[in-house]
């Protein structure tokens, strides 16, 4: 199973969750983070500059779809990072 992690602007959360659902994910986990990157520092004190980290466990094919859609639809325009890793889950049929 794949764990896809996405760090992006907090205001995008709803939109990314929608994208994940459309791509075939059956759940997700999210929490507020702060950080820095190509688009400068992002402070967590006001929601306009805060980041959110989303984590989603999906089948490899779904992971491909998610990453491809993120790249196509959001990467150019928003502060965002995404990566994928391998995990072993209990009850794999759940995801």
């Amino acid at each position: 199973m794949k764990l896809v992690t996405i760090v992006c602007e907090a205001i995008l959360e709803e939109r990314v969750v929608e994208l994940l659902r459309e791509a075939g994910a059956h759940g997700h986990t999210a929490f507020p983070v702060h950080g820095s990157g190509g688009q400068g520092e992002r402070h967590a004190d006001i929601s306009e500059t805060a980041n959110v980290q989303l984590q989603v466990i999906v089948k490899p094919a779904v992971a491909e779809t998610v990453l491809a859609r993120l790249q196509g639809e959001l990467f150019q325009q928003y502060a965002m990072v995404a990566y994928e890793s391998d995990v072993r889950v209990l009850r794999p049929d759940k995801f």
Partner: protein, 326 residues
């Protein structure tokens, strides 16, 4: 002379000085940090408090006295982007998206600047229509919608209402927390009236000024962090950030006087027109005009126009209104 005194009294008020302290904290890289939860809490508090107070005032004045100036205010908000946008395109050579984004911010309004203006009027014992909060509430959304439409190419026919990100912008402009809390609390205030106010005065009125000071400490830190971006936004936006409030503020004062507001009320409409949003607009614009660089609009609104208004703009619009109505 009097004008100088007015500025001075404005400058030495706790909210303004706490704003300066916040800028200092950011610039000196102190480890002072507000937790996110405090910022949202302060925002929720300020919006419900002014909404509620405004609603009580509307109930006392009667809807009959409010609707005309409120409508005028709303139309003014929607019109501002129509001249701001071409100015940014032509004079500033900014992209379509950036021009639309900035126009949306400057047509929309800043609640904190509005409160600072009512404080200023109170401090010099200048009466004003206390239902003016209604103007604040109705001026938040129209400019955001118009600005986003322009930024998406409305003038070149590229734009369509069924666009998904346009739907997001519309929802955010109308159901965003800023508008929802302001209008919601205003309706509650109108329904409860004086009697409801008596019960919650100890929360929505007594500590209000101090909470505002604390909020401005945080705004100062946010603005201070943007000072470094001033160089990035360029001279044009610097000039724009001071010219726009003067032009829009004058229009507001004129319109206010024309629809029959008192000197205080016309000042407030001027302040609203002259202020730029940094609570409602940024989120809605970011979602619907992602190509726009938020550094431009936020830095101009928060690090240039906001300090200008809070120090010089407010007394300026007041003097204008006085002159006009004398």
């Amino acid at each position: 002379m009097e004008f100088i005194a007015a500025i001075q009294s404005n400058l030495l008020s706790p909210p303004v000085l706490f704003f300066v302290l916040g800028v200092f904290a950011a610039v000196s890289k102190s480890d002072l940090k507000f937790p996110e939860a405090l910022y949202s809490t302060l925002t929720i508090y300020l919006l419900t408090a002014i909404g509620f107070k405004g609603g009580v005032a509307i109930q006392e004045a009667g809807i009959g006295a409010v609707w005309l100036p409120a409508l005028a205010a709303m139309i003014l908000g929607g019109l501002i982007p129509l001249w701001t946008y071409p100015a940014l395109r032509k004079l500033g050579k900014l992209s379509m998206a950036d021009s639309g984004a900035i126009a949306a911010h400057y047509g929309s309004v800043s609640a904190v600047t509005f409160i600072a203006a009512t404080n200023f009027l109170k401090s010099i014992n200048q009466p004003y229509e206390s239902y003016a909060t209604a103007f604040l509430a109705v001026m938040e959304s129209p400019a955001i919608i118009v600005g986003v439409m322009l930024g998406k190419g409305a003038l070149s026919g590229k734009f369509s209402f069924s666009d998904q990100s346009m739907r997001h912008a519309l929802r955010d402009a109308v159901l965003g927390k800023g508008v929802l809390l302001l209008i919601g609390a205003m309706i509650i205030g109108t329904l409860c009236g004086k009697r409801g106010m008596d019960s919650v005065e100890g929360f929505f009125v007594t500590p209000f000024q101090g909470v505002l000071a604390l909020f401005l400490l945080e705004m100062g830190m946010v603005a201070g962090r943007r000072l470094g971006d001033l160089r990035k936004v360029g001279v044009f936006l610097l000039i724009f950030g001071i010219t726009a409030p003067i032009v829009h503020g004058s229009a507001g004062v004129l319109l206010g006087t024309w629809v029959g507001l008192s000197v205080g009320g016309a000042t407030l409409l001027g302040v609203l027109a002259g202020s730029a949003s940094y609570i409602a607009a940024p989120a809605a614009v970011r979602l619907s005009l992602p190509e726009a660089n938020p550094t431009y609009s936020l830095t101009a609104a928060l690090a240039i126009t906001f300090p200008f208004n809070i120090t010089a703009g407010i007394p300026l619009f007041f003097e204008m209104a006085k002159l006009l109505q004398s």
